[in-house]
Amino acid sequence: MTSDSLALGRRPMQFFGGWEVGLLALMALLYIVGALINPSFFLSPDAFQALLRDASRFAIMAVGMTFVIANKDLDLSVGSTYGLVGVVFAYVFDPNHYDMGVVPAIIACLALGTFIGLINGVLVTVLRVPAFIATLTMLFIGRGFILGLTGGQSILYPIKARDFHWFFQLGEFNAWGFNNQITLALIVVALGAFVLAKTRWGYETLATGGNELAAIYAGIPTRWVRVRSYLLSSLCATIAGLMAVAQDKGASPQGGLSAELIVIAAVIIGGASILGGRGRVLGSFLGAVLTVLINKVLREGVPITRTLMINGESIEVQAHYSLPAGAVPAFIGVLLLVAVLIEPLIIRQRLPARIWAWLRRRPPPKLLEVGGVAIEGAQTKGATASDRALTARGFGKFLARRDALAIMLAVLLWLVGLYLRPDYWALLPNTFAILLNYTELALIAVGLTFVIAAGDIDLSVGAVLALAGSAAAYSLKVLGLDPFEAILVGLAVGLAAGAFNGVMTVAFRLPAFIATLGMFYIARGLASWLVAGQQLTGFSERYNLIGRKVGDILAYLDLPRPMGFLGALADVVSVQTIWMLLVSVIAGFVLGFMPFGQRIYATGGNIRAAAYAGINTSRIRFIALLFCAFCATMAGLINVAYFRSFNPVAGQFRELDGIAAVIIGGGSIFGGYGTVIGALAGAAVITLVRALLQLNVEGFTMPQHWINVFIGGILIAAVLIDIWVRQANIFGALRAHLAERRRTATTEAVNA
């Protein structure tokens, strides 16, 4: 029956499509633009070589990431894995550390990659932690390890590397005149493309990402498929890290910083869908080259001619304008969001076709009807969680509260502090020093509570804190505004960031984690752009008052200091602590007692049910994201005032602390739960952990980097406890199971 097979027609192409052709065209265009602006760099053969060489590492990471994203997962830890591989290699290989050969070093790196991939995979599949939170924590833990192991210093071993030419030539140019890394990248891309497009492994990946339930029914081991993709991703990052090792003959603590951003942007630009089920390795490869090219164009800068006035004569000086290094992630962050928007707007809603029809005054083309109401599956959970709060009595009633853990932990940790340093812990100054550290985190946690209860997430709080702080510092110092205006500017900038988050999630329907991840890089990039090359310090003391102690403010205003206990209190209580308590009381009242709070819980609990009940869920989510950015902004303004200067690392790791605080305090990463009291207690736990780890006990203090690793562990533990103890109630199930076994045992004994 040859006619049958003819009737089938040509099979659709699996490797290559129109998208990839468009990418190639765009890339050619960009290179021409780059060559026009900066011919000295882009027209040199070295530049082309360097572009391909740097792109090859990102291309390899993009191969693994394609599998992960096609699975509807996300791996934010590739950048830190890439960096950590360099550090581990250095530790094993460097003469000043373990001084072993290349082979043990490579084995150690591969073991590390496998380990990270397995942890990611198991957390996401078996333990059901949302992918972005699991891998974001791995990112922070990895970065903490990199800084902790290197102590912030590069480790270089160029002399020993000469003895191992066979490995280190991987980073060199070969006899044919191009870098060996390019060859390796092409091999990995070809393999990846073949596996994803042609083999069962690839088909299983696409099926799992498209509809996991359907894949399970079809007998596909979806857990293993997803774990496999995480393994591929982190092994690809390991290979890329080894390539960097071969090229640099050393490791730097900055290695792989923000690499995850470039890799994810590359894969999405390459045509993969963040909603899963779609992705092509060749597209990701081209996306990686394109993203690295954009990165290069941004970093290289433009040669300009400056006119200087010297002694009344104007002299033309050749200069070079380039972006400060920290600003580039801002552009890549925008690029990521644009790429993520391509799919919903252009492919699903056919925006270009509609605009074209509108321009010709024709009726718009019909839309693909996507996901009509009531098609989605049931969301109201079944009889899994028993309602312990109703049956419990006395202390059990307290234990059944979702914030019980946080409150007990806070008390316990405080007592531990008292045990370790009885001489100093309970003194008023120390208590209020802790309270001062607590303020920033508590403000952020209160804002995050709203977002998390409404079922979203905000990963950008730390970055928005920095952006608002830098904007205020910039207006005070560079623009010369007065303190009140500077506060207004800071608030406006922070709220603009929040509004951007809100528009991206609500109007463009991006998942909140991806929208705020974009903002994470954009806000940090903008902040370091604003302050680049400026010493933003020495403001008017009037501004700094919002970060001072009450006593200082009274002194500044020439008011009399109260006597006795009130006076002592005024010397230790900061005005921002009072402000934070005020904000918390208002926020707690709104969330706990007003209909608006109920709307937030309804939206987070079951957004569709809330919408049917007439709640404007888009408005609720938008306001929550805006309020969260507002809280982060206030924290940023206070931070600048407290330190009397802006520090570019302000707010770093605060998103981690904030999310951990809310989850420990009874919030659920899936939305619908979380109280202000819980968040405050959770923030207290995190603050106390940090304070305890920083305590000088018998001359030993833990360095800051290791504390971040510790906090990352706490966040994962909190999410796991929320999913498995609070929601799935495994302890209850275990008790029931044991009771059942005991009963059968007794009946058997009776029968015997």
Partner: protein
């Protein structure tokens, strides 16, 4: 049955058309529902039952056709507008917030207020009242909905619908997720509602449920109306035959069918 026809229908849908892309989901469908009547809407998968009901509640927009509620022509652009005219829909998955308790769910989105604060005392006492009126048994109005069984969750969904004092309730596959016991309880509840004069439309695959409580059954097939019978004058066998082999040409209205048979 001329005496029924003399009463004006509470809901009347005429010549409803709806296409999704190239697929004609509904083709010139008519539907009438009288006060206090229980109408079963049956048909194979993709017959257009749910689409028709979503058009009635305003979740989907019709391409053409008319809808009259109590004699007035209406254009619902969302389920909230149909709710204002006394039409409630209970979804297959109940559309409740599992993280909130029974009282909060019954008043979802319209929690009573005292000043700025949610009036919890009023909310719980009125929720309890509605549950009493419906004669359903939920342990406590303070219980979280996610800790309830499927049948109890449905009782909450129905209680929520009743609390709006609707004239029409649409139930989408109400027995699909229920145990046998819960199904029996649900059918009792439906009869209780009928006693209060509430018209109901049940979408269901289970003919025995429709025959237990229904007054009339309407059959859709591939988006077309292929038959309409009074429960008293038909059998499950006949309805099954219409579902499988009915055509618009052989279609008879409920009032014509007995005459043709006679």
């Amino acid at each position: 049955m001329p005496e029924t026809s003399a009463v004006h229908p509470i809901v009347e849908m005429r010549h409803i058309n709806k296409a999704f892309g190239a697929v004609q989901a509904l083709n010139d469908v008519d539907l009438a529902l009288y006060p206090g009547e229980v109408l079963g809407l049956v048909g194979d998968n993709s017959a257009g039952k749910s689409t028709l009901m979503k058009i009635l509640t305003g979740a989907y927009q019709r391409d053409s056709g008319e809808i009259h509620v109590a004699g007035d022509e209406v254009h619902f652009s969302s389920p909230h507008e149909s709710r204002d005219r006394g039409i409630e829909m209970i979804y297959q998955d109940f559309a409740l917030c599992g993280n909130m308790d029974v009282g909060q769910n019954i008043f979802l989105g319209r929690w009573p207020r005292k000043g700025l604060i949610v009036d919890r005392r009023k909310m719980y006492s009125e929720a309890d009242e509605v549950l009493q009126r419906l004669k359903v048994n939920v342990n406590s109005v303070y219980q979280k909905v996610e800790s309830l069984s499927g049948g109890r969750q449905q009782s909450v969904a129905i209680a929520r619908a009743i609390s709006f004092d609707p004239r029409v309730i649409v139930l989408d596959e109400p027995t699909a997720n229920l145990s046998v016991m819960a199904t029996a309880r649900l059918l009792e509840t439906m009869l209780e509602l009928k006693k209060h004069g509430v018209a109901q439309i049940i979408i269901s695959h289970r003919l025995q449920d429709i025959f237990a409580v229904g007054d009339r059954v309407m059959v859709l097939k591939r988006g077309e109306n292929v038959g309409d019978r009074y429960i008293k004058q038909t059998t499950e066998q006949e309805v099954l035959e219409i579902i499988v082999s009915g055509t618009p040409e052989t279609r008879l209205s409920a009032d014509e069918a007995p005459k043709r048979a006679a």
